[in-house]
Amino acid sequence: MTDTVLVRLRNPNRETDMAAPVLVSVLLERLEINRESVLVVRNGTIVPGDGRLDPGDVVEIRPVISGGAS
């Protein structure tokens, strides 16, 4: 049993481990990611800012900003 959360990031695609348990809000602070620009997804479900991530969890940091001029 691992004592970390596996975090998957995009643009570019990469992975990192973070110590667990950890709150989503704290995870984003540690990664220096603005919560307005992402959603945290675990098993296809959004985890809110006060959600706890446990050891062994795999989460995706899904960016929500899309580009292009209108």
Partner: protein
């Protein structure tokens, strides 16, 4: 964290509304925001034939989904832009969604029907990829809506899109653009009626809507958008938003209420100088429109001497 409506487990917190929602009530909230935008800005009549500009991304699929749920007669239009595997994947998302809803998806293939793709057009016209892409899409969506007899063209521009464009226009004081930055552009001068029903919803909310409703959208960013200035504007605005929730909405809606009218005259002057493109008949301020010039430089085939309708094909529709 509990849903403000039912006290069940919440999945999303919306700081600017000081509200948390469970999946069911978040979906309801999104629909209500779209209904309110349509009502406040008199966007769509119940009997209108609606064409939705569909990219396969979260915003266009979400707005199409909500309009269908609200009972509007809404078809989709997808434009294949020839951006390699990215276009292949985006088209697949658009088709899969249309099939899942039993909705009509029209398609235009830019390389196949106009002889150029966005990477080639961008290089040939010395425009940024996003500029060449936006120009091509606007032209083809407009023509498709007019040629198809649609009453209104819907785009998936959300609050973040509008706030970022406003930010850029203010940063450079592009007053002619400020005068026409509205959630509704009426049909006139050869342009179809264009509306943006997602202006009350943020980009984050649209991504969340797709996840909670199970819409399989294209998550990856367009490979040609790297370094796009609008992404930079969005990041800057999000830095403000996280410190002062509600700033983006206040920036945009206060502009509409208190400032947009002041720039109307400059946009009107530009509109008065519009005439028909000598090649395709589209409205333009020059003899040959920007789309035809782009296509010609890219070795494409839009340089017709008579107005050419957009060719719509129906692929993989139910």
């Amino acid at each position: 964290m509990k849903c403000v409506v039912c006290r069940g487990p919440a999945v999303i917190d919306l700081k600017r509304h000081n509200a948390n929602f469970c999946p069911e009530h978040f979906t309801k909230y999104c629909r209500e925001q779209v209904e309110r935008a349509i009502s406040d800005f008199d966007m769509i009549d119940p009997d209108d034939r609606v064409l939705v500009a569909v990219s396969g991304g979260k915003d266009s699929l979400a707005v199409w989904d909500i309009l269908l749920d609200l009972g509007y007669r809404a078809d989709g239009l997808y434009i294949g832009l020839g951006i390699g595997g990215y276009s292949d994947t985006s088209g697949r998302h658009a088709r899969d969604y249309a099939r899942s809803r039993g909705a009509e998806l029209l398609e235009v293939d830019l390389p196949g029907e106009y002889g150029y793709d966005i990477p080639t057009g961008s290089r040939a016209a010395r425009r940024t990829p996003c500029s060449a892409c936006g120009l091509s899409k606007r032209h083809l969506f407009d023509k498709a809506a007019l040629d198809g007899g649609y009453d209104v063209l819907v785009t998936g521009h959300n609050l973040d899109d509008e706030a970022a464009v406003l930010f850029g226009n203010v940063l450079h004081w592009q007053t002619e653009y400020l005068g026409r930055q509205r959630p509704v552009l009426p049909a006139r001068d050869g342009f179809p009626r264009k509306v943006k029903p997602l202006v009350r919803l943020s980009e984050r909310e649209m991504a969340a809507y797709c996840i909670v409703t199970g819409i399989d959208y294209l998550v990856d960013e367009c490979p040609m958008a790297a370094g796009n200035k609008h992404i930079g504007y969005k990041e800057a605005l999000n830095d403000i938003e996280v410190r002062s929730p509600g700033s983006k909405a206040d920036f945009y809606f206060s502009f509409l209420r208190r400032a947009a009218d002041r720039f109307e005259a400059e946009s009107e002057t530009e509109r008065e100088s519009l005439s028909a493109c000598a090649r395709c008949g589209a409205p333009t301020t020059t003899e040959v429109c920007a789309f035809c010039r782009l296509a010609e430089r890219a070795g494409g085939t839009s340089g017709a001497t008579t107005p050419q309708p957009v060719t719509l094909s129906r692929k993989d529709s139910p």
